[in-house]
């Protein structure tokens, strides 16, 4: 399978199944588009109005060479491998701990409904959290690295328990030959020097929620009294990012139908000095006024293009930054098993509620049909686990013809379910945006390669 596109002056050819990426001239680009359907004579005939015969034959030689080298027109031979891979016994390696189902903000797009997840306000006790960590250790098999995200609601509303659980986790590492990677997602309201010092010592990553421009942020992320939160959190986030030497954190925003010019929000965060930025489309039921619409998609795609070009410009000027969705590792990225087997929700990744219930991931919390078990009994509904286990790109019709399947791993199961009531379907708007992001990310790599060669 080939995906070819033109972006920012580059002709890019992606050989999907091998993962090879080529930047080609116009002639090779045109040949590749018809190569599989035409013999040599027909190719020459069809292109002879625009190119000289000798040139066409020379370019055709290069295309053939790439094909022989296994870098073009390769087959997808992974299906049986992935099904076999997914059939292996399940181990759990990551937990999303809902340390607080409560929040001190009232963000209008919150899928957790102001932290409460369609349920009651609650804080996780140390005892429940400890059982969750014990469950993780006991069910992680030979995996060494275990990930625990302190999530909410707002986890700093229960910071004492966060601190104790980290201490407990560390005490278990040597005993069980495990290494915990703790992460924290926070809105910043309760962030202070004490929390920062602790987080910088113990948290492998922190996610700081901020949407970009002040007016955009304050519209969607107010306190319960309606007042905006930007002025309170922004100075703290700047301090936190600096205290982590601008690494191992993300400022993480959400864009909605209200700010389809979201590239300005990304650049606003970059202008504030942040170097690790993630700004993502809201996931919301279509009837919400802030939900992304099908009509928004072309506008958003143009925004991604603008952002990509601006990032290249800033990098040339020595003031580049990372945008999470444009980060792509072409040479050392994940193995094909990782790329095609899905996000791991419901199998190696679980969400834990304050009272110790397990759900496939944080986005399913509160949907009772997805309640899988709890910290006392373990996974009771193995049928749910098994359904998620077989959720991979080959189980999804929409993924089969999509070039981006090796980059998104089949997309988000929760989005698929929310929009189509099936975890093996896909959320179409999300797919359109994902494809655009992959194209931009690869274009940036082409531009970087050109820059390195002094072009």
């Amino acid at each position: 399978m080939i995906h070819q596109y033109k972006n920012n002056g580059y002709n890019i050819v992606l050989d999907v199944n091998s993962g090879s990426v080529h930047v080609v001239d116009d002639l090779v680009y045109d040949i590749i588009a018809i190569y599989e359907d035409c013999g040599q004579d027909e190719i020459v005939e069809r292109l002879s109005g625009r190119y000289e015969r000798d040139q066409i034959l020379e370019a055709l030689g290069e295309v053939r060479q790439l094909e022989e080298d296994g870098l073009l027109f390769t087959e997808d031979t992974y299906k049986d491998y992935i099904i076999d891979f997914k059939s292996r016994p399940t181990v759990v390696k990551a937990l999303c701990l809902h340390i607080a189902h409560d929040c001190n903000l009232a963000c209008k797009y919150c899928f957790a409904e102001e932290g409460e997840y369609h349920g009651r306000r609650a804080l996780m006790s140390f005892e429940v959290g400890k059982k969750a960590l014990d469950f993780l250790i006991a069910n992680s098999g030979s995996r060494v690295h275990l990930e625990v995200d302190f999530f909410g609601g707002e986890p700093l509303m229960n910071f004492d328990v966060v601190r104790k659980l980290v201490e407990y986790g560390r005490s278990q590492e040597k005993i069980h030959n495990k290494k915990f990677r703790f992460t924290l997602t926070t809105n910043g309201v309760l962030l202070n020097d004490d929390v920062m010092e602790f987080a910088n010592k113990e948290m492998a990553n922190v996610v700081l929620s901020v949407d970009g421009r002040k007016e955009v942020h304050d519209r969607m992320r107010p306190f319960r009294n309606g007042q905006g939160s930007y002025d309170l959190i922004m100075p703290k986030f700047i301090k936190m990012a600096e205290s982590r030497n601008q690494t191992n954190y993300y400022v993480r925003g959400t864009f909605t139908h209200y700010n389809t010019d979201f590239a300005k929000d990304v650049l606003s965060l970059a202008d504030m000095g942040f170097k690790q930025i993630s700004v993502e489309p809201v996931v919301a039921p279509p009837q919400e006024p802030y939900a992304i619409t099908t009509e928004d998609v072309p506008i958003l795609c143009e925004q991604y293009d603008q952002l990509a070009r601006e990032m290249i410009r800033r990098e040339k000027e020595g003031r580049g930054f990372n945008f999470f969705h444009f980060m792509i590792d072409l040479t050392g990225g994940p193995c094909v098993a990782k790329r095609l087997s899905g996000c791991g929700s419901g199998t190696e990744y679980l969400a834990v509620t304050p009272w110790g219930d397990f759900y496939p991931c944080h986005q399913f919390v509160g949907q009772e049909e997805f309640l899988m078990g709890n910290v006392d009994e373990g996974i009771v509904r193995t049928d749910i686990r098994d359904e998620f286990k077989m959720c991979n790109v080959y189980a999804k019709d929409k993924c089969r013809q999509c070039f981006a399947r090796f980059y998104c791993s089949g997309g988000c199961a929760a989005n698929a379910y929310n929009f189509n009531h099936s975890i093996t379907d896909a959320y179409d708007i999300g797919c359109d945006l994902m494809r655009k992001r992959v194209e931009c990310a690869i274009m940036i790599k082409a531009a970087q390669a050109a820059l390195e060669e002094g072009e």
Binding site: S18, S20, H22, V23, V24, D25, L27, V28, E58, E62, Q65, L66, L71, T74, Y78, F85, A94, R143, H145, D149, F151, N205, V207, Y250, R252, S278, E280, V283, F324, H325, D329, L330, T331, G332, G333, P334, C335, V336, A337, K338, R339, G342, C343, G344, E348, Y349, C361, H362, Q363, F406, Y407, C408, G411, C412, M434, V438, A441, I442, K445, A449
Partner: protein
């Protein structure tokens, strides 16, 4: 090659041999929490 610049000639097929150890980060634990992005993650064995 005159007309082609290959950015990566890595072939994913080769990762079938040693791949699938599972030590890498779970995608939703990185930053997203609402989308699934694996292409930008790094392999634990390449660190």
């Amino acid at each position: 090659m005159k007309r082609v610049k290959t950015l990566t000639s890595r072939t994913l097929k080769n990762t079938m041999v040693k791949g699938g150890c599972g030590e890498c980060q779970t995608s939703c634990q990185s930053a997203c929490k609402t989308s699934c992005t694996v292409g930008n993650q790094s392999c634990e064995n390449n660190k």
